[in-house]
C-alpha cells in the first residue's frame, strides 16, 4: 500500500496495471513542478492575466441584511469560462506540457470542465478530446458547441447510463490505451492518487485568496466556510487553507435531488457506503450487489454517485460537515440571490447558497460566512426556464 495515496482509509490507486507507471510519472512530475518556482510563477501568471484572478470576495449586502448575518460570496463565477474549473485545468495542462504530452483528454458532465479543458488546450495548442455522456450531450448542447468551437473533439458516450459516470469510464479506458502520449485532465477531486491532491493544489487558490480577503474586510477569520460538493473540486479548494483553522466551520453541501429518502439524489455521504470507483476508495451510491447507482440532481455538475476521498476523510473525522439540499431548495435560493444581488449563480452553487440562507438564521449579525459561488448560471438558463415553467427537470 502506498500510504501517501490515502486520506485515512480513503483514496488509493485502484487502476489497471497499464496505468500504474503513468500515475507514478504524473506524481513525480507534479511534485517537481509545484516545488519549481518557475512553474508556480507561470501558473500564477495565467491565473492573473488569462483567468482574471484574483476573484472578489463580495459582501452580499442585501442578502446579509435580510438574513441577519454577514454573507460573503467568493466569486469564482467571474473566472474566464464561468466557473472555478479553469483554475485546475491550467495547472494540469501546464504540467502536461512540462511532461512532453501532446494530447489531453477530459470527462465532463454539465460541460464546464470540458469547456475549461478545451479552452486550455486551445491556449496551449494541444489536441483535446472530451468524453461526455450522450444524455448530457443532448441537454448541454450549447457547451458542446463551445467545446467544438475551441477545437476539441467531443465524444458522445453511449454506455451504461450515458452520463458523467460513463463518460469518466470511457476517459479512463482511452487513457489506459493512450497514456504514452496523452494526459488525462480530471476535473473533480476524484480519481487515483495523485489526482485528488493535484486538484486540491490547483483549486486551493480559492481559499488562499478568500482567507486574506476576509482578513482585510473583517480583521479575523470567518466563522463558517461552505461550498457545494459533487466530486468536490470547488469545495476542497474552498476548504484547503481553512482545514488547519479549527475555529472555522467547514460545510459541504450535497445534492439531495428530489430528497435523500427518495431514489433520486446525489447525496453519496448521506446515503452512500465506502467503495471503489474511478480509481479511488470513497463514499459511493451503490446497490446490494455493489453496482453503482445513478445519481440525480437538477444540477448536472453535482450529478455524480461518488465524492472525492479527502471529503470522505473530512466527513469521518468530523472536521467538515456535509448536508443535503434538494432541487427545490436550490432553485429557490437561485432566484433569491438573483433578485436580491443581481447575480445568477450556477445551479450547483445555488445549493451552497440555499444552505447558507438556512444557517444564517442560526447566526448573529456579527458573525460571518463565506459561500463559494463556484460558477455562473448562464449555462443553466434552459433548465431554469423549464423549471419556472413547471416543466420539471431536464434530468
Amino acid at each position: 500500500m502506498n500510504n501517501k495515496a490515502y486520506y485515512g482509509e480513503y483514496g488509493g490507486q485502484y487502476v489497471s496495471e497499464s496505468l500504474m507507471n503513468t500515475l507514478n510519472e504524473v506524481d513525480k512530475a507534479f511534485e517537481e513542478a509545484i516545488h519549481d518556482p518557475e512553474f508556480i510563477k507561470q501558473y500564477h501568471y495565467y491565473l492573473k492575466q488569462y483567468v482574471g484572478r484574483e476573484t472578489p470576495l463580495y459582501f452580499a449586502e442585501r442578502l446579509s441584511a435580510k438574513y441577519g448575518t454577514k454573507i460573503y460570496l467568493k466569486r469564482e463565477d467571474l473566472n474566464h469560462t464561468g466557473a472555478h474549473k479553469i483554475n485546475n485545468v491550467l495547472g494540469q495542462i501546464l504540467l502536461a506540457k512540462r511532461m512532453g504530452k501532446t494530447k489531453v483528454i477530459a470527462e465532463t458532465g454539465a460541460g464546464q470542465h470540458g469547456v475549461a479543458t478545451a479552452t486550455g488546450a486551445a491556449l496551449f495548442d494541444m489536441e483535446c478530446t472530451v468524453y461526455m455522456g450522450a444524455e448530457d450531450v443532448k441537454r448541454q448542447s450549447l457547451n458542446v458547441m463551445r467545446m467544438e468551437m475551441l477545437g476539441a473533439k467531443v465524444v458522445s458516450v453511449t454506455s451504461g447510463s450515458n452520463t458523467l459516470k460513463d463518460a469518466t469510464n470511457e476517459a479512463i479506458r482511452t487513457w489506459a490505451k493512450t497514456a504514452e502520449d496523452t494526459f488525462y485532465i480530471i476535473g473533480s477531486a476524484i480519481g487515483p492518487y495523485p489526482y485528488p491532491k493535484m486538484v486540491k493544489e490547483f483549486q486551493a487558490v480559492i481559499s488562499r485568496e478568500a482567507k486574506i480577503q476576509h482578513m482585510e474586510a473583517e480583521g479575523r477569520l470567518p466563522d463558517v466556510v461552505m461550498a457545494c460538493v459533487g466530486g468536490g473540486s470547488n469545495s476542497i479548494g474552498m476548504f484547503a487553507d481553512f482545514i488547519d483553522e479549527p475555529s472555522v466551520k467547514l460545510i459541504g453541501i450535497e445534492a439531495a435531488g428530489k430528497g435523500v429518502d427518495t431514489n433520486e439524489h446525489a447525496a453519496s455521504m448521506a446515503k452512500g457506503r465506502p467503495g471503489v470507483l474511478h480509481g479511488t476508495r470513497s463514499y459511493l451510491l451503490q446497490d446490494d450487489d455493489g453496482n453503482i447507482q445513478l445519481a440525480h440532481s437538477i444540477s448536472a455538475g453535482l450529478d455524480y454517485p461518488g465524492v472525492g476521498p479527502e471529503h470522505a476523510y473530512l466527513h469521518d473525522t468530523g472536521r467538515a460537515q456535509y448536508v443535503p439540499i434538494t432541487d427545490y431548495e436550490a432553485m429557490d435560493a437561485l432566484m433569491e440571490l438573483t433578485k436580491l444581488e443581481g447575480i445568477i449563480p450556477a445551479i450547483e452553487s445555488a445549493h451552497a447558497v440555499a444552505y447558507a440562507l438556512k444557517l444564517a438564521k442560526e447566526m448573529d449579525k456579527d458573525q460571518s460566512m463565506i459561500v463559494c459561488l463556484s460558477g455562473r448560471g448562464d449555462k443553466d438558463v434552459n433548465t431554469i426556464s423549464d423549471y419556472l415553467a413547471g416543466k420539471g427537470y431536464l434530468n
Binding site: K165, N169, P274, D289
Partner: protein, 264 residues
C-alpha cells in the same frame, strides 16, 4: 489440503509440454443455466475458465464485454448468483479450474472475509481483479491467506509495466496474465509494438507459466509469440462467437477443441 486446480493443471501441462488455453465468459449471459452449460461443454478441453462477474462500471473492458456485463446485470446476474452456480457445478462433479474476473468494488461490497470464505467453500480457484494493482492487494491477499492456496490472486502485467514486472512476478501464483495491448479488453489483434520483447522479459523472470490475453481470436494470432508464452486467453472473441452461435454449448466445444489442436 488439496492443491489448487489451476496450479495442478499448469503442472500437468508443463509435464506434457503443452500450451494452456483459457476462455472468458460473462456469468449470466444470457442466463446462469447457459453459462453452466458453456462451462461444462469445455470440461477436459479448455484448461481454465475465466468467469466474468458483471459490474456496472467495467473500466478495464472494451465495448463487447461492457455490453455483456450490462445485459447480464439486466438479466439479474450477480456475484451471489454466480456463487450459487459454482456450488452447482462442483456438486455435479466438475473439476474445471475456474477464476473469477471481477472488479474490486464487488468484492468490498460482499465483505473481504465473507468473500474469501465463500470462494473457498464453492471452489473458486483464482481471481483476476483488473482494478486492483499490486500496491492495493494486501487486504485481499490477507483475507485469502487463511485458506492457503485455495483461491489464488492472479497477477496482471502490461507492456509498460517495465521495472514493475520483477516485483509483480516475484510472489505471483498460478500463472501471469500478460495483457498484449495497452488499455482494455478486445482490440482485435493490434498488439503493443514492443509485445515480443515485453513477453520475453516476463518469461525470463517468471517462475510460473505466462499467459497472453487481449485481442486474441485464433491460434494463428499467437503463433508468432508461441515460444515466449505458455498459453493464451480468449475473451471478447469468445463472447462474440457464443452470441453468433446463439449460446450453443457445442460451439464452445468446437472452438476450444480447434484452438487447442492448433496451438502447439
Amino acid at each position: 489440503m488439496s492443491e489448487n486446480r489451476i496450479q495442478l493443471q499448469m503442472k500437468k501441462l508443463q509435464d506434457e509440454g503443452k500450451k494452456a488455453f483459457i476462455t472468458y465468459i460473462t456469468a449470466g449471459l444470457p442466463d446462469m443455466g447457459k453459462t453452466k452449460e458453456i462451462i461444462k461443454a469445455q470440461e477436459g478441453i479448455t484448461d481454465v475458465i475465466e468467469l466474468g462477474i458483471p459490474f456496472s462500471d467495467p473500466t478495464a473492458d472494451g465495448p463487447v464485454i461492457q455490453q455483456a456485463s450490462y445485459e447480464a446485470i439486466q438479466a439479474g446476474a450477480s456475484l451471489r448468483k454466480t456463487f450459487a452456480l459454482m456450488e452447482e457445478l462442483r456438486a455435479e462433479g466438475s473439476d474445471q479450474p475456474i477464476v473469477f474476473m471481477m472488479y474490486y468494488n464487488t468484492i468490498i461490497n460482499y465483505g473481504l472475509k465473507e468473500f474469501a470464505d465463500k470462494c473457498k467453500a464453492v471452489g473458486v480457484d483464482g481471481l483476476i481483479v483488473p482494478d486492483l494493482p499490486y500496491e492495493e492487494q494486501d487486504a485481499l491477499k490477507d483475507a485469502l491467506a487463511s485458506y492457503g492456496d485455495a483461491t489464488i490472486l492472479i497477477q496482471l502485467v502490461s507492456p509498460i509495466s517495465a521495472e514493475r514486472i520483477d516485483t509483480i512476478t516475484a510472489d505471483a501464483k498460478g500463472f501471469i496474465y500478460c495483457v498484449s495491448a495497452m488499455g482494455v479488453t478486445g482490440q482485435g489483434g493490434s498488439y503493443h509494438k514492443d509485445v515480443t520483447e515485453y513477453l520475453k522479459h516476463v518469461k525470463s523472470v517468471s517462475k510460473i507459466p505466462v499467459m497472453m490475453g487481449f485481442g486474441i481470436r485464433t491460434a494463428a494470432d499467437v503463433a508468432p509469440m508461441k515460444d515466449v508464452i505458455d498459453g493464451a486467453i480468449v475473451g471478447t472473441h469468445f463472447i462474440n462467437l457464443m452470441r453468433e452461435a446463439g449460446f450453443d454449448p457445442k460451439a464452445a466445444t468446437e472452438y476450444a477443441d480447434t484452438f487447442k489442436k492448433e496451438f502447439v
